[in-house]
């Protein structure tokens, strides 16, 4: 994907990647996230990217930059992350700060909100304000795209088939 210069191929690859990511998330028990990633990453994202390619160009110019700086930044970031992450608790055990600390949402959800899908109750109630912010993000993005792309002239002139 880094070296492919046909943008169409890049977009298709990124769509496939999103589906793979959704499967991985499914394996990790994050069903809601997997559903969202499949519909958003592979669906909406791909549609938007293809729409943009239709309106712009599908071929990338030959890169002219030196690759040293980006390589340095990327590898440096990776080193810090590996160094930090490798000292975190091992994968998949129940005995970690994340799993232990704080009251357990799972025990409270059904009793307090009557909702069996704990992700839903955390999303909409316990951390409902985050979700209000998230909805505001969508609102902002929608208005932003309209401000940038909506035609001042009456619609219907540019028709996509």
């Amino acid at each position: 994907m880094v070296r492919v210069r046909n943008l169409f191929a890049v977009v298709v690859l990124s769509g496939i990647y999103s589906f793979l990511m959704a499967s991985v998330l499914l394996v990790l028990d994050a069903v809601d996230v997997a559903l969202t990633e499949a519909s958003v990453g592979a669906g909406v994202g791909t549609v938007l990217l293809l729409g943009t390619l239709y309106l712009t160009k599908t071929e990338e110019a030959r890169p002219v930059h030196s690759i040293l700086l980006p390589l340095f930044v990327a590898v440096g970031t990776a080193a810090v992350l590996i160094w930090g992450v490798s000292a975190t608790p091992p994968f998949g055990i129940a005995d970690t700060p994340v799993q232990l600390a704080g009251p357990d949402y799972i025990h409270r959800s059904l009793a307090e909100t009557g909702i069996a899908n704990v992700v839903s109750s955390v999303l909409a109630s316990y951390r409902g304000f985050d979700t209000l912010g998230e909805t505001t993000v969508i609102f902002t993005a929608g208005i932003a795209v309209l401000m940038l792309l909506k035609h001042a002239a009456p619609p219907g002139s540019g028709r996509k088939d």
Binding site: G45, K57, P63, V85, D130
Partner: protein, 125 residues
């Protein structure tokens, strides 16, 4: 030396996070190294998705199941990372949409979506 071996051991033990790091680095590299604006945004999405794995795998319990209460199960993976990542996905797609809209406008204004070309055309004026 033994410190180094311990560090390598730690790194190997976190096999699940390798992929996070790999995705992040590839994404970041594309964003910085490439001049094509669409490709940069694809790289940016890749970079953002790496964060998903960091959070989700921290919440996973190997014998657990999805956090939907059911009398048949007792061990569930932690729901909070899932909620956070749902928000992150939404933020990611919102950023992508705004970024692509900007790219479309830039293409209309400049006739190109290569950063080098654009800087050249601005300097000429």
């Amino acid at each position: 030396m033994s410190d180094l071996i311990a560090l390598v051991g730690d790194v190997v033990a976190h096999y699940n996070q390798w992929i996070t790091v790999f995705l992040m680095v590839s994404g970041l590299y594309i964003v910085i190294a490439r001049g094509n604006m669409v490709k940069k945004l694809v790289g940016l999405s890749l970079f953002q998705t790496s964060v998903y794995l960091l959070y989700i795998s921290a919440g996973k319990i190997l014998s657990g199941t999805a956090p939907i209460i059911d009398p048949h199960f007792t061990v569930y993976s932690h729901p909070l990372p899932h909620v956070l990542i749902l928000t992150a996905i939404v933020v990611g797609i919102a950023t992508l949409a705004v970024g692509l809209a900007l790219v479309v406008r830039i293409n209309e204004a400049y006739g190109t979506i290569e950063e080098d070309e654009i800087f050249k055309r601005d300097d000429d004026r």
